[in-house]
């Protein structure tokens, strides 16, 4: 199971805009820092740079990129989920 979903304003989960959402966002950010010493700014930079590199070879949807930190057996993993447009059709798949 992953956390960090709330980062980059992704909002696939239910969206009561109460203070709980703010709490969750802050918690996720602070845990990313605790685990991998990355600040939200640095993560945003990673996202931008990944976008730039991938865009050279693929047609991607920058808004749909999700970066997640997942706690696993052997430690933490950074998982990026990048939606790509299928050549010619405009429909989308996703690649990791």
């Amino acid at each position: 199971m992953g956390w960090l979903d709330a980062l980059f304003g992704r909002s696939t989960s239910r969206t009561p805009r109460g203070s709980a959402q703010i709490a969750k966002q802050r918690l996720v950010e602070v845990l990313v820092y605790d685990h991998v010493k990355l600040t939200p700014d640095v993560l945003e930079a990673i996202r931008r740079e990944m976008c730039a590199i991938l865009s050279r070879h693929l047609e991607i949807e920058p808004q749909g990129i999700e970066i997640t930190i997942v706690r696993g057996e052997g430690g933490d993993r950074l998982v990026a989920n990048v939606p790509v447009r299928r050549a010619g059709t405009g429909s989308r798949g996703a690649t990791q």
């Binding site: 199971m1 992953g2 009561p16 709980a20 969750k24 918690l27 845990l31 605790d34």
Partner: protein, 274 residues
């Protein structure tokens, strides 16, 4: 219970990282609930220097020897065991009040746990807050760990740290107790939900304890709320005990008639809550 040798009991440490989230209350009540189910239970207050478990259980006036006396050999183990006044199969080893956490080593805790598990079905260890020596002592002899948290940023952050340390100690993944959840605040979107906390900590859930004033009144009296059949928090602690015994107990819906009633009163302009 001392006569019956080697019960091969389970040693379970209750910990949290952050202070004040309800470790001691949880230890007392899960222990009382297990004892009420007929199990031989000993509670160990490992918060040396800040003795509290005796107060929650109402046993503060019966202390002669403490955990440091035991490990330093100033008394026999049975002399330091305080039998609960309500449940004869519930016992307490109090913390020392005038010493500090350095007074006990992890090796001594491990040996103490080994000795206790021969006499009891459950050895519940109330860990001090923090991640230093006291915490290391508390998990030294543990088979399993329960992490208590509140639905708050700081408490969950500290719980996350504890989860990492428990895993680093090569213990099985700890199980989570979310304490002091207020269903009304969750419903309004102003408190992290159990699901939010679970998503972040990614460990199995063993209990959800609602914020409940019966805990305050029971603690004032020195009586475990787990023995109050009408208390919702008491029921939550009894459910945790049942899950520790391997029973499949559904999690209670947080919106009880009581909650609905309170909400109606508030809608009508009676009562308020920050």
């Amino acid at each position: 219970m001392e006569e019956q040798q080697d019960r091969n009991g389970r040693v379970i440490t209750i910990t949290s990282g952050k202070g004040g989230v309800g470790k001691t209350t949880t230890t007392a009540n899960v222990g009382a609930a297990l004892a009420a189910r007929g199990k031989a239970v000993v509670l160990v207050d490992a918060d040396i220097g800040l003795r509290n478990l005796d107060i929650v259980l109402g046993l503060e006036n019966r202390i002669v020897y403490d955990i440091v006396d035991v490990v330093e050999g100033r008394c026999r183990l049975r002399q330091a065991l305080i039998r609960d006044k309500r449940l004869t199969n519930l016992a307490l080893i109090p913390a020392a009040q005038t010493r500090d956490k350095e007074a006990v080593s992890p090796e001594q805790m491990r040996a103490l746990c080994q000795e206790l598990r021969q006499q009891f079905d459950f050895v519940l260890i109330d860990s001090p807050a923090g991640i230093e020596r006291g915490f290391r002592n508390a998990i030294a002899g543990a088979d399993e760990v329960l992490v208590v948290t509140n639905p708050e940023v700081s408490a969950v952050r500290d719980a996350d740290r504890i989860v990492g340390l428990v895993e680093a100690a090569e213990l099985p993944p700890p199980r989570l107790i979310v304490n002091r959840i207020d269903p009304e605040l969750v419903r309004r979107g102003d408190m992290l939900s159990v699901e939010d906390v679970l998503e972040i900590l990614a460990i199995p859930l063993i209990g959800v304890v609602p914020a409940d004033e019966t805990i305050v009144t029971a603690t004032n009296r020195g009586e475990p709320v787990a023995l109050d059949p009408h208390s919702r928090a008491g029921q939550a602690f009894r459910d945790i005990a049942a899950r520790l015994l391997g029973e499949e107990v559904p999690f209670q819906p947080l919106d009880t008639p009581d909650g609905v009633w309170r909400r109606m009163l508030r809608a009508l302009g009676f009562g308020s809550r920050a």
